[in-house]
């Protein structure tokens, strides 16, 4: 499948501070990609650059394999962004939805397009006559999404679409964006803190940390400082006095992360080069991007996400409240970019 959007050699700074450094990433046509990462990890900046609403300082964004930038050509008419706090023009809902259509020179069937867009986000077409100040927060968010869907975009980017809406609105937004992909082959890129929502909807999830793409998910972050035990062994002591062993940190307060697939709930004793932690199971869930179930395990003041085998014996051992052993290897703990 062809790439619809690509980023190459992007280095972006705000006031001299680096916020995004991406060598290469591409997004396939019709795919749904999630962007996950803590606050300040560069998700919103990445969306702004990809949606051609902001120009790259260094590097290039490609749309359908051709360099693209804000205001330069009509590519921006094929890509659209729903910001985290969408702004509604001080006009009626109808005028808000047709604004983008009028920019594209659309004059016919505006009423039908507005009704279709409102229907997609679960709002009745009578909403078209309402003024911007007559909407609740969730309705305003859905109207803003309807204004994007009316454009039938080739690529729709959503920044925290469910952050400030209720469950019903979140369900409607999910339904609407999936419909856009099904009906028009729209490529979706969604930044969200809502991991379960991302897991459920996305084909792939990109993890960002300090503006860079991580090779693994970032849930199991271990923050410094580290105590040196011998020449090559450093430890972090948890609240219950258990120790996590790591290799030499690149700098004293470095943060590290271990992918859940390398942190396993196991009944076996640790093998050579393996370390263990004892913890209590607090939850178990299915991750669409991983073949087996995932387990929440609390060790001292840390809550880890670990993996387990998908068999009855393992599942029985992972019932909430059970004490379990987590097995890991120090070399699987990777250091995060500064």
């Amino acid at each position: 499948m062809k790439s619809i959007l690509q980023m190459r050699g992007v280095q972006h700074r705000y006031n001299g501070r680096p916020v995004l450094e991406i060598d290469h990433v591409d997004f396939k046509t019709g795919s749904i990609t999630g962007l996950a990462g803590p606050n300040g990890s560069g998700k919103t900046t990445m969306l702004k650059l990809l949606s051609l609403t902001e120009a790259c300082r260094t590097g290039t964004v490609y749309f359908r394999e051709k360099p693209a930038a804000p205001f330069i050509n009509n590519n921006r008419h094929r890509v659209t962004l729903l910001p985290q706090e969408p702004y509604l023009l001080k006009r009626s809902v109808f005028e808000n939805i047709v604004y983008g259509l009028k920019i594209r020179g659309e004059k016919n069937n505006l009423n039908e397009l507005v009704a279709m867009a409102l229907d997609l986000v679960g709002l009745h077409e009578s909403f078209a006559g309402r003024q911007w100040h007559e909407l609740s927060g969730g309705e305003a968010h859905r109207v803003a999404l309807a204004a994007r869907l009316a454009l039938k975009p080739a690529c729709l980017l959503l920044d925290e679409p469910t952050a400030s809406v209720d469950m019903e609105s979140a369900r409607n937004i999910r339904k609407a964006v999936l419909m856009a992909r099904k009906e028009w082959g729209t490529t979706l890129i969604i930044a969200s803190h809502h991991r379960a929502w991302l897991n459920d909807i996305c084909d792939r999830i990109i993890y960002l940390y300090n503006g860079r793409i991580l090779d693994c998910s970032f849930e199991n972050i271990l923050l410094g400082p580290w105590e040196q035990r011998n020449n090559n062994q450093f430890v972090k002591t948890l609240a219950d006095d258990q120790e996590i062993f790591v290799s030499r940190p690149p700098y004293p307060d470095a943060s590290s992360v271990i992918d859940p697939k390398h942190l396993k709930v196991s009944a076996a004793t640790p093998g050579k080069n393996e370390k263990s932690l004892i913890g209590t199971v607090t939850g178990i869930f299915i991750d669409n991007h991983f073949s087996g179930p995932r387990v929440h395990v609390t060790c001292g003041d840390h809550r880890f996400i670990a993996s387990t085998e998908n068999d009855i014996f393992s599942m029985d051992n992972c019932r909430p409240g059970k004490k379990v052993t987590l097995i890991y290897r120090s070399e699987d703990i990777i250091w995060l970019p500064q």
Binding site: K48, S51, L52, T53, P70, F71, R76, H77, T80, L81, L82, P83, E85, P86, Y87, L89, K90, Y99, G100, I103, R104, A144, A147, R148, L151
Partner: protein, 229 residues
Amino acid sequence: MDFILQGILQALELLVRGDRETYSAIVTTVKVSSCSMAASLLLGLPLGYLLGYFTFPGKNGLRLTVDTLLALPTVFIGLVVYAFLSNQGPLGNFGMLFTITGIAIGQTILALPIVIALTATAVESLDHSLRLTLISLGASQKQIFLTSLWEARLGLLVAAIAATGRVLTEVGISMMVGGNIKWHTRTITTAIALETNKGQFATGIALGLILLAMAFSVNLSLSFLRRKA
């Protein structure tokens, strides 16, 4: 106190009777203020937008200068414009001294800082996510400019009301640049000054009330527009 009541009655009489001299002053006032307001809005709205919307080196200094110009005395503007338009001045060849055009130039200088400063304030107070929203919907730079002005329309109406009030009621520029020539450059404010100097207080009050009625009509129209917006 009788002359105040007399002035009110005389105002009605002047209007009802269709006094030619009074109507000439009204027409001149409307012509001059319309020209100066049109010019100051045409220049001031884009300049105010640029000042409020963009960040550039020296912006704070420029903003301070514009804000200072809000307090420009009308007699000082009259003096400067007179100096430029008089035969000895750089624009003397155009023959604009003691003309409606000359007064309109002076009043434009008076109104321009008001329009620029209040437009800049209105644009600055727009939601920061407006630009991102418009670009994400595919708007061009020109469409962003026009839509942003429309979003700030209430603030722009306030700018227009404030500038109109200042232009309608100024006397220094009209007197110095226009020369208060009967049937030609005499505005309501210069007519009031003349009548007061002649001791015709009642006529002065009558003209003042007419000016007030004009200001009221302008504000009523703008207030109607504000409700519609």
